[in-house]
């Protein structure tokens, strides 16, 4: 079996509010899946259902185990990093990790190596409440790793940490990804799409798009912005080339500004060079899933 997580027709409501409307998806072994969506889209609710924290309608299988009827066994396959890293503040790093290890059936040696992996060995005697946000996230990740689960679920992992902490955290995730772990990462905006093999965009309790970042960008016809500096005398030539690509070029202070589909950029530049246009400078502003996702969630389903 290649699927480590399978969610089938997941429904959840709080009172009269329907939060999840038949969500279905799967995460394969070793795959990193990004669950992207605005606040209130239902990302955290999906995660809580997978972890058995909420009652739900539908089926969730973790490594072939039914999460509803065999919750404890299913959770043994999952390492979880919550949105707000909530710890017992009066414990030290080591005490907290040891307590969590006992609940995950992990050994003291595993605690030691998990703290080492997260770079927290030197801080093991420090009180949890004295840790910075970045350190708390690293502690959370090291605890999630205890018991060597094949699936890691990270809920908004970079939302509460500063830029330096985010960069450190991403590096740590890259290392873990290389070790073959599967990831389900929920985020509203984080820059984590570079780590993911697949992106799912969730809106109002439904998955409105899924696929690789490039696939989704192509599906929505996303374009890159280009700024090219050329001699003033060659503006007319550029205008003609831009028209042949179906684009209107705008000129200002010696710079051309135009938007092009990602796969048209190289052909456009080649045409300019072949026409004898001298390119003095060039800036490309690439579109990402994050910059496009508002457009995606406002439109119909782009599900592949």
């Amino acid at each position: 079996m290649t699927e480590i997580l399978k969610v089938i027709n997941l429904y959840k409501s709080f009172g009269k509010t329907q939060v999840l409307n038949g969500v279905s998806f799967a995460v394969n072994r070793g795959e990193a899946v990004l669950l992207l969506g605005p606040n209130g889209a239902g990302k955290t609710t999906i995660i809580k259902c997978i972890l058995g924290l909420l009652n739900y309608r539908g089926n969730i299988m973790v490594d072939g185990i039914d999460a509803k009827s065999k919750g404890s066994l299913a959770r043994a396959k999952i390492g979880y990093l919550p949105q707000l890293s909530s710890y017992y503040e009066t414990l030290t790093v080591s005490q907290h990790a040891t307590l969590m290890a006992s609940l995950k059936g992990a050994t003291k040696d595993e605690v030691k190596s998990a703290l080492e992996m997260a770079g927290l060995s030197s801080l093991k005697d420090r009180l949890v409440k004295a840790l910075s946000s970045g350190m708390r996230q690293r502690l959370g990740l090291s605890i999630a790793m205890l018991g060597n689960p094949p699936l890691l679920i990270l809920d908004e992992p970079t939302s509460n940490i500063d830029l330096e902490g985010q960069l450190e955290f991403k590096k740590l995730l890259e290392e873990l990804k290389e070790s073959g772990k599967a990831f389900l990462i929920s985020t509203h905006l984080s820059g984590l799409d570079v780590l993911s093999d697949r992106v799912m965009i969730l809106n109002s309790g439904r998955i409105v798009a899924q696929g690789s970042s490039d696939e989704i960008l192509n599906l929505v016809g996303a374009k890159d912005r280009m700024y090219i500096k050329i001699p003033h005398s060659q503006e007319e030539k550029v205008r003609i080339i831009a028209n042949s690509f179906g684009q209107q070029a705008e000129f200002k202070d010696g710079w051309i500004y135009l938007t092009l589909r990602t796969d048209d950029k190289a052909r456009f530049l080649t045409s300019m060079v072949q026409s004898g246009i001298k390119i003095e400078d060039i800036i490309v502003e690439q579109f990402s899933i994050e910059s496009e996702y508002i457009r995606i969630i406002r439109s119909n389903s782009y599900d592949k």
Binding site: L53, N55, P82, L84, L103
Partner: protein, 283 residues
């Protein structure tokens, strides 16, 4: 493959956390002074007490301390689950292999161990220091402590149920204090009202008493402090109106009826706690 998980460290953690709670520390100090009963201590030192003072003074101890016992368990139990839900540690703990029942068992065990320690130490010191209980009378004292622990467990379960059902810490604490007020003050006023206004008050009186665990425990303990069931003759004032009515209606059977009532409270509340917590959304 991971090994089996263990909840013992979690029980120990909750035990330590409970001992650190400011409320428990404050209650312990106040309870200690209540239990040692300074006036009795002075009288005992001055040899002003009669030789057979112990049964009488133990029943004083019961009447003095039992109404306050729920004040230990109710606030601590009431914040136990809701506080963890608010801080997010509940969802973190339940995301591991531990079951909801396992978590609740660990939580209740830790709280029970901590509050039990306070009561045993409080009454123990009272027995040794203030009342100078001889070996022969340890059994009587043990009876009092046992019933106090039973009451404590009932109050802890009641408060935990409140904690499971509420969404905010302040609400849970408010309900806990209201419950203590209901058991300790309103129920006594209610009983008084019934006696004064109802011609055939006995059935209401019995019903009120069994629905009031602190009062049931108090009566049971006062009876327990007497070596023979001649309490109505020797020390009727400590039984109160409710206790006297129960003894006159049920006679020797009153002890068993009260004990059974408390056990029913214990089992019902424990079942409710586990059932509701297992079925509800945890976060």
């Amino acid at each position: 493959m991971t090994s089996e998980y263990s909840i013992r460290p979690l029980i120990f953690h909750y035990f330590k956390e409970s001992l650190r709670q400011k409320w428990l520390i404050i209650f312990s100090i106040i309870f200690f002074f209540l239990a040692i009963n300074i006036p009795t201590l002075v009288e005992l030192s001055a040899n002003y007490l009669p030789p057979d003072y112990l049964p009488v003074y133990l029943s004083y101890l019961v009447s003095l301390t039992f109404p306050y016992l729920p004040l230990l368990a109710l606030p601590m139990g009431a914040i136990s689950i809701v506080q963890e839900r608010e801080s997010g540690t509940l969802q973190y703990i339940l995301s591991t292999r531990i079951s909801r029942q396992g978590y609740l068992f660990a939580k209740l065990s830790g709280l029970t161990l901590a509050t039990t320690s306070v009561l045993i130490i409080g009454y123990g010191i009272a027995a040794i220091v203030a009342y100078r209980v001889s070996i022969i009378h340890y059994f009587v004292m043990a009876e009092v402590v046992f019933i106090a622990l039973l009451l404590n467990a009932i109050m802890l379960l009641l408060a935990t149920l409140v904690s499971i059902l509420t969404k905010r810490r302040e609400t849970a604490l408010g309900i806990a204090i209201a419950l203590w007020f209901l058991f300790s003050v309103v129920s006594s006023l209610g009983q008084l009202g019934i006696i004064l206004n109802t011609t055939h008050a006995t059935p209401y009186m019995v019903g009120f008493t069994v629905l009031d665990p602190p009062e049931s425990s108090r009566i049971l303990s006062v009876i327990g402090t007497q070596t023979e069931y001649n309490i109505l003759l020797t020390n009727p004032s400590q039984l109160g109106v409710t206790g006297s009515t129960l003894l006159s209606v049920f006679g020797d059977q009153a002890v068993y009826i009260l004990l059974l009532t408390l056990l029913v409270w214990l089992v019902t509340l424990a079942s409710l706690c586990f059932m509701v917590f297992r079925r509800q959304d945890s976060v």
